[in-house]
């Protein structure tokens, strides 16, 4: 199908984009890479009267270190994250997850801000951001900014707390210390498709192999990606024995509430979430022990 008629606006800086948003608000949509928005327009699931194409606002395209964070501008493309040595070094979990985002063709156009603002519960970046307890920087029309954490930002399927006159400006991923281990695992029907379930994990171990600072999130099995807080608490101070892993799988399955669709039943997804959590933990512990940091 073809998209409905719209008026096209191409601001050259952030302030101009925000002014357009102030003027057209609910009738407008921000267009950056368009890899999520244009399919919905092609299928006429969405028909905004105005498209504000922010793709030429070059100051929103950056990857840099900022205190304890890896700060990524909203217009940074997935492929730039994939090719960045800085990301590999500061946040290997993000490097690993980004390869699961769509196909090469999609990663060449799709942007970080777009993925976050779209709020797809099975998308990879929201899951990574949730696991790491990252931050989302939002620009307001008056020039002020707000910083939100994932559980404030992601509300439910494809719905975020972003107001019509606000825009995602930056996404902040906490830097992962060199001695930590992390892992991102996913099961999708075809490489590059949306995951049936996915798990992001990061943790430390002490000299005896006891777990510290465990952070895990699961995506694709709830209306938003969720941090598995119960599992995290349970794991602190423990070693990954078979019994502990069985318990982790059970706790994970209790924490998720998946739905059935033509790709898989709720029961299958629930079990998958448990299995993937166990798998991610094993890989992350291996890497924390000094195994290979990147796949």
């Amino acid at each position: 199908m073809k998209p409905a008629v719209f008026s096209y606006l191409r601001p050259t800086n952030l302030q101009e984009a925000l002014t357009f948003l102030e003027e057209y608000g609910e009738d407008a949509k921000i267009l950056s890479g368009g890899q999520s928005l244009i399919p919905t327009m092609n299928m006429r699931l969405s028909a905004p009267a105005y498209l504000i194409d922010i793709s030429r606002i070059s100051d929103l395209n950056y990857i840099k270190l900022d205190g304890d964070f890896l700060a990524v501008g909203a217009l940074t493309k997935h492929k730039d994250i994939e090719n960045s040595d800085l990301v590999k070094d500061a946040c290997p979990l993000l490097s690993e997850a980004i390869r699961w985002v769509g196909h090469t063709q999609i990663r060449n156009r799709g942007t970080v801000g777009g993925s976050i603002a779209h709020g797809d519960p099975s998308a990879e970046l929201p899951c990574v951001l949730t696991a790491l307890r990252g931050e989302i920087v939002i620009a307001n029309v008056d020039g002020s900014e707000e910083v939100l954490v994932p559980e404030e930002f992601f509300l439910t399927y494809m719905l975020t707390s972003l107001q019509p006159e606000q825009m995602v400006k930056e996404v902040r991923f906490p830097i992962i210390p060199q001695e930590s281990g992390s892992a991102f695992v996913e099961v999708a029907r075809r490489h590059g498709d949306f995951g049936l379930a996915e798990v992001a994990a990061v943790l430390d171990i002490d000299n005896e192999g006891h777990l510290l600072n465990v952070k895990i999130a699961v995506g694709g099995v709830n209306p938003t990606p969720i941090a598995l807080e119960q599992v995290e608490e349970y794991l602190i101070g423990k070693k990954l024995t078979d019994e502990v892993l069985r318990q982790v799988s059970d706790l994970t399955q209790e924490s998720v509430d998946p739905e059935s669709d033509l790709h898989g039943t709720a029961e299958y997804r629930r079990e998958l979430a448990g299995t993937l959590t166990v798998r991610a933990l094993k890989i992350a512990v291996e890497r924390a022990r000094g195994g290979e940091k990147n796949v």
């Binding site: 008629v5 194409d53 492929k79 769509g102 090469t104 999609i106």
Partner: protein, 170 residues
């Protein structure tokens, strides 16, 4: 406000200036405004990959872009691949030799994806080829012959490149 926009795009080395509707998809611009019908439209929501083209030398989905977004960019379509005398290039010939197509609808997308892939990776493993074409669907033959074609093309390209470097070393 008018819904018409002015776009200037270089397609296969030729500059095209047009006034078009802002909602015109890039693929429709290429097919209907430029009469380059080699680029195919399949699903129109970014799954099948038939519309893959090179935008500033990188493969993208033509159906997930508006023509106006490509304003000022360079595009290569499947029509850019064959030689000036009309003969097939190495990749196209390998597709032909290995029966890597049946109905041919998906072929332009495969060729454009693989043109970029073989530039970066001259000696790909079968797994790398499979991952490279994971964004392109074929519903006739499956992928076995396409993979054979890529392997043949990469061998020929490697040989050609090593000959070139011998020549330049002399």
């Amino acid at each position: 406000m008018s819904n018409k926009v002015q776009v200037g795009i270089s397609i296969n080395g030729k500059k095209v200036q047009k006034q078009v509707e802002s909602r015109l998809l890039l693929t429709d611009f290429i097919r209907d405004e430029c009469n380059l019908t080699g680029t195919h439209l399949g699903c129109e929501h970014g799954v099948c990959g038939a519309c893959t083209i090179l935008l500033d030398n990188e493969p993208v989905r033509g159906c997930l872009m508006f023509a106006v977004q490509a304003d000022g960019c360079e595009i290569q379509t499947v029509e850019s691949l064959n030689h000036v005398d009309g003969t097939l290039n190495v990749l196209q010939q390998s597709f032909s030799d290995n029966h890597a197509l049946q109905c041919g609808f998906c072929t332009p997308g495969f060729l454009m994806t693989l043109t970029h892939f073989l530039k970066d990776n001259q000696n790909p493993t079968e797994n790398e080829i499979r991952e490279a074409i994971s964004g392109n669907l074929c519903r006739c033959t499956g992928y076995a012959n396409i993979i054979k074609a890529v392997q043949q093309a990469s061998q020929i390209l490697q040989k050609e490149n090593s000959n070139c470097s011998v020549v330049s070393a002399q």
